[in-house]
Symmetry: C3
């Protein structure tokens, strides 16, 4: 079990490094636009960087929860989960860069990363439902579908 | 072990869906009250929705941490943990709706969900202390209490 | 495996209690400086307490992710991970107290807790790389280094 989780741990760690990068960008923007803590607003350029980081930080625990639920419980999709994880982090990176440039620039990557998150939520839901069937109904839905296929 | 965790995963996933719902409400409120990003304040109606979502998002990782610590380490309370998880999410839903209506309306469900969180923290603490006794002192506190009961 | 995790669960729980303490301080500051929700700014004394709590809350899921990745995957450093976890929480406590007093007072403990977080990120990275080698290359880097030592 531990072995399967190395990929999930690697994606999580990449997510942590991305958040660290975003936090550093806020520190640089604070210096550049002279917005010292505890203030959280300044010129629009600063506000965009600050809000981009805050939004990514807010979604980080949701992403980690869904990534691991999908990776652990939706076993047919191990590579799918890890790929979605990487795509989400890529989408968030483009969101951060786009939002730093203009409020409009955040939209396309925001929709993209939201879609990837919904795929992970779908994987997790399937994984949880399948596991419930296995544990409480003693039926393996994947095997049922698989054994019904030749009939089609 | 994995089997016991399906319930925890289901509650976590429900929590993720709840957060997604709250985020959508903020997007609708932004449109309704014309508060475009990166701005985070507007009329009090908007501010309440925004703060309700921010507060729930802030507590989400704390909730997930305590839910899993309680569920994994406080084994006599598997159903208790899952029930508390559901109650917490219900409390947060009522908190969000109440806060959206008035600042006063957030108070009762806030106290309720805080109390449920403290129960989960209590379960987690018991679970960690019991596990410490088992692993490092080689004593099972539950068995000790159980075997002492007939003497009473 | 579960046994090794008791220490990690204990540190996580301590982190949850610390966050609960910070949240209570914000509630007291709201009463003291008459800043009722949904407002999030007031006199500088309040702003500092509010931002100190917000910053700690933002880093909490990152801390939990790195703590568990390090603790689960970097096995030679079990005690090291737990010690770093405790040092981080201690640093965050001093950060909160320092920031409550003055913006300048947050800096030293902030750098300290950032350094501890980087150590945990380093441990996690080593753990993930080592596990990749074991799982996919069937090579145990620690054993390789160990068996090469007498040659030096």
């Amino acid at each position: 079990m531990m072995d399967d989780m190395v990929g999930l741990a690697a994606v999580s760690l990449l997510g942590v490094l991305e958040q660290a990068y975003f936090s550093l960008q806020v520190i640089y923007a604070r210096r550049k636009f002279s917005v010292s803590p505890p203030r959280t607003s300044g010129p629009p350029e600063f506000d965009r960087v600050f809000r981009a980081q805050a939004n990514c930080a807010e979604y980080f625990p949701i992403f980690i929860t869904v990534l691991w639920t999908s990776g652990v419980f939706f076993s047919p999709g191990d590579e799918g989960t890890q790929l979605c994880g990487l795509l989400y982090l890529y989408g968030r990176f483009r969101y951060f860069c786009g939002y730093s440039q203009s409020a409009q620039g955040r939209l396309a990557p925001l929709y993209f990363s939201a879609q990837v998150l919904w795929v992970l939520i779908g994987f997790s839901s399937l994984g949880v439902v399948f596991s419930f069937c296995r544990v409480y109904l003693r039926v393996d839905p994947i095997q049922v579908v698989w054994s019904a296929l030749p009939l089609v």
